[in-house]
Structure formats: C-alpha cells, structure tokens
C-alpha cells in the first residue's frame, strides 16, 4: 500500500490541495456519469420506448441539475487533466505557475460550462419542456 497523507484535516485548504482532491472527486463522478451514458446507449438497442424512458428522466429538473454538474465535472477534469499532462513532461512546476494554472483551470471549466448551457438552452426547447412538465403535474 502506498503512503497516504497523515491527518489531512490539520492542513489549511490551499488551491493546490483543493484542486487535487477535486480531480479525484470529478473523476469518480464522471465514472458514475459514464455508467448512465452507457445506460442511455444500451437502452436504444432495446428500441424507442426504453430510450424515451431514459431520455425522459434527463428532461426533468433533477436531470438537468445532474447534467449541469456532470458537464462542469467533465470540463474541470479535462482542463486539470491537461495541467497534469504538462507536469508529466516536467513543465509548470514553479509554485507561482502551479497557482496560476490552478485558477486558470477553475475559470476555464466554469466558463465552458456556462457557454455550453447557454448554447443548449438557446438551441433546444428545454424551458418550454420543463414548463409543460410542471403544468402536467
């Protein structure tokens, strides 16, 4: 077994440590998301009815909250993963660079999430769909 950090709770949270654990948390969340994406694709093999059943769950208020969470988790893990790949080739290790690239990753992931959802809302009928769902209930 490899050594683990002792007494994690006594350290003051820093941008470096917070982003590091976020990479693991988003990675885990994305694994769960991948499971559900696979579920959607597999449901399509069973025909339109089962596909619509799964897709219908995505078009609910909790579905959208989860999808927004996953979209941020995806962009974060992507951007921070690229940051990791630069470290792997030995670049960006200066403390100031690590801090700057960390904030850049956070900003980039949030921007990409907002841009994605502005695009989706403009393109699709999400708002009217949600409203009609609410009216049915």
């Amino acid at each position: 077994m490899r050594p683990l950090s002792p007494h994690l709770q006594i350290y003051r949270p820093q941008i470096t440590s917070v982003l590091s654990i976020l990479h693991r948390i988003t990675g885990f969340a994305l694994s769960v998301g991948l499971l559900l994406l696979a579920g959607l694709i597999i449901s399509a093999a069973f025909g339109q009815q089962s596909f619509d059943l799964v897709r219908g769950q995505m078009s609910t208020w909790y579905g959208y909250i989860l999808l927004m969470g996953w979209s941020w988790a995806f962009y974060y893990h992507l951007c921070n993963g690229i940051r990791h790949l630069f470290w792997d080739i030995g670049k960006g290790f200066e403390l100031s660079t690590v801090t700057t690239s960390g904030w850049a990753v956070l900003l980039a992931s949030l921007t990409m999430t907002v841009v994605t959802w502005v695009y989706v809302v403009q393109r699709s009928s999400i708002v009217s769909e949600l409203l009609s769902n609410a009216n049915v209930q």
């Binding site: 696979a38 078009s59 790949l85």
Partner: protein, 122 residues
C-alpha cells in the same frame, strides 16, 4: 543485457509503470474523443430517438462512439482502481470491490459498444 535510457524497462516488477502510462495514453485519446462527442451530443441529446439512430448510421459517428466508450471505460477503470487501492485498507474487501468494479466496467463497455453496432446496423 540491453541498455535502457528509460525507467520504463528497469526495476524488478517490469510492468510497474504500465498503469501510469496507460492512464496518460487513454487521457490523451479522451481529450480528442470526449470533445468530439460533446460537440455532437449537444445537438443530439435533446432531440427525438430518430435523430440519434440517423446519427449512428454514419460509420464515422459509430466508430467514434465505440472508441470513446473503449477509452473512457478503460480510463475510468484505471482511476477507480487507484481510488479503491487508496481508501479500502482490508485486503479481502479491496479485492472484492476491485473485482466487482472491473467486472461491471467490462460488462458495461461490451454492452454499450454492442448497442452502438446493433443500432448502427439495424
């Protein structure tokens, strides 16, 4: 004995760096594949069933989706393995959870890839 300039071939374990390298290689593939998929899904995910089937009948999309599932399930299994090995300290439980997670990964990977082919060719 062959000379080596890289730590890849050194050490008694021989394959100790495989997990590390596999994670990076699948990560590189996923940068391209996941961005490609997101760009496609954005136009697709809130449209009717027929649009998805039509999209999959294009061989480029079917192959892209299969590659995405292969790379992402592989990358996910490697990451989950690290998490499990870090946090589950009792060896028998660790092995059981690892076996379960990796079994589930293989099942879902095969299931989703087969579904892609099934829908694309139907």
């Amino acid at each position: 004995m062959p000379m080596s300039s890289s730590p890849r071939d050194l050490g008694s374990a021989k394959s100790g760096s495989h997990h590390w390298l596999a994670q990076r290689v699948s990560a590189l593939a996923l940068i391209v594949l996941s961005l490609w998929l997101v760009a496609n899904l954005l136009g697709l995910v809130f449209t009717p069933f027929g649009n998805y089937v039509y999209w999959l009948k294009n061989p480029i999309n079917a192959v892209g989706l299969i590659l995405f599932f292969a790379a992402s399930f592989y990358h996910s299994a490697l990451g989950l393995q690290t998490i499990i090995e870090d946090y589950i300290h009792r060896a028998c439980i660790r092995w059981a959870v690892l076996l379960l997670v990796q079994g589930l990964t293989v099942l879902l990977a095969v299931g989703s890839i087969f579904s892609v082919i099934f829908v694309a060719l139907k």
